[in-house]
Symmetry: C2
């Protein structure tokens, strides 16, 4: 009954790391004394806001695109996304020199459309519903023969996202805890696998907005509970878990910590002011979780992944 | 007639680097492909926004405080400043365990007062005029016997600021140009000296807001022209040159490039959006100068110092 034999192995993750190495940044791990003092712990921030396209998503998309066979690659890669995965897939396809087809809701922000176009992808617009997205994607795949690369439930994507935690664990010896944000669960499941393989003594946690707490409820219920009318500033974390990410998370993640909007904003601001780096709200959710639970992490060594830095500078939450 | 025998030597700068090494960050040098493409040059950004207190100013203040004799140190260090030098001197004195006396205008922003107090300095408020600042500082020095450490005209401070360019030149081989912002000229004169000693083939330039172009006019006139009613968003660059900084700049700086407010803001935003780092307006002035002169720097290798990252997140210029 244990499905984990399907999941990325340590060798899959090591191979993904080698595969994406020529294209992805090895992002720095930063520390910040004043935030450490505030939280009462030693925090190590893996800065995926500095990754290509401004988010960890490039790791998974790049691994998946590079794993396509020559015949598959010629027909291209396709996905539906209005967010960082769309840009990530577009850039990975551009690097490999193959087509990318991105299905985006017709109400997507201009700046996101321009970014995807800037990487040379072909955009197909659809109505802003999940059904329309999936139908349109199916049409694109049937027309073009492109390979669908799911934003998070794809095992190649999960292995790619796992490389961020692998790198973090190379720089932080024996952390007590790793904590990352959870939306669809690609980063969280990849982090959980890397932690299991490369630092099995560490506990893996996730931070999730209280206003989009489907992963928290799914873990409690023992089955996937879809996200319904999620409301949070952390716009990268609106999606529901997939079958693969849920199975890995259920097995390897200790707990999902919900976080209020106020704490997400306070954490985001703390990172901007003290670390002088730009992170998107989703990236601040794990620190928000720590701010809300000052006693739970006292004196721990904690690794955290700052998932991205794509934020609208015209609409900051303070 | 050549006064430069007084100025920091290569050995002074090397000694300053060793002296501050235990306390200051060796800040990273970042690159950004999309900004390179925009400018048509290879840019290396020395990130002093990640320095202690969020600005290069810590280097000079730290060097000066650590150079005080035991007897001097016991009586403390004093300065007048409402900006980054105040925090820098307060932290350096706190590290050495000696008193710091900071004269600040009574209308200084609460957040800056709190920061200086947070480092344990004693604040003396004065009317917001240059005369009041100087008179109050004299009183403090007479009362306490503290040593006045000028924000930029002090040779120990200049030697400290020079260590930023020294580090940059260790990571960028044979740049064509170094460009930094100029206000009072501490960073610029230190950069010019380091460049002369450690990379004599490079040209040193400065960026200066067109609305506060006293250094530009001083260099043209061959004498210090004080800043009068400067108007710029780059609030770190409002001060006039000092005798020492002017003498060094006149000898070793090729040209001062004035920059419009629009270009400063565009450059600042480009750095935030593309590099995902927080810089203050003053730090963006050199990039603004390049944006205004796309042909002048084509295909060059350019080192740039991002001078600081202390910005009011409530009042961004876009």
């Amino acid at each position: 009954m244990n499905q984990s034999f399907n999941f990325p192995t340590a060798n899959d993750i090591l191979a993904a790391a080698e595969r994406i190495k020529p294209y992805a940044h090895r992002t720095p791990v930063l520390t910040c004394r004043s935030i450490d003092e505030r939280v009462g712990a030693r925090l190590y921030f893996k800065c995926e806001n500095f990754q290509k396209v401004g988010a960890f998503k490039f790791r998974g998309a790049c691994n998946a695109v590079m794993l396509l066979s020559e015949a598959e690659a010629r027909r291209g890669a396709a996905t539906h996304s209005s967010g960082n995965h769309a840009q990530a897939l577009a850039l990975a396809a551009q690097i490999r020199g193959v087509p990318a087809y991105i299905v985006m809701p017709e109400n997507s922000p201009r700046v996101k459309i321009a970014a995807v176009e800037g990487y040379g992808a072909q955009i197909r617009f659809c109505k802003p519903t999940l059904t329309a997205r999936e139908t349109t994607l199916q049409e694109v795949v049937q027309e073009t023969g492109a390979t669908f690369i799911h934003p998070y439930n794809d095992l190649r994507v999960i292995a790619g996202q796992a490389t961020a935690a692998k790198e973090l664990l190379e720089e932080v010896e024996s952390p007590d805890t790793l904590i990352v944000p959870v939306g669809g669960g690609g980063l969280l499941s990849g982090t959980a696998l890397s932690c299991r393989y490369f630092s099995p003594g560490a506990t893996v946690l996730a931070g999730e907005p209280a206003g989009a707490d489907d992963a928290f409820r799914s873990l409690q219920a023992g089955r996937i509970i879809p996200s319904e009318n999620p409301r949070t500033i952390a716009d990268g974390l609106l999606t529901s878990l997939g079958e693969n990410t849920f199975a890995i998370i259920r097995e390897h993640v200790r707990e999902i910590l919900t976080v209020s909007e106020d704490s997400i904003i306070a954490a985001m601001r703390l990172i901007w002011e003290r670390m002088k780096i730009v992170v998107e709200p989703s990236a601040a959710v794990p620190l928000g979780a720590l701010l809300e639970r000052p006693d739970q992490f006292r004196n721990q060594t904690i690794g955290m992944i700052l998932s991205g830095g794509n934020v609208d500078l015209e609409r900051l939450p303070w």
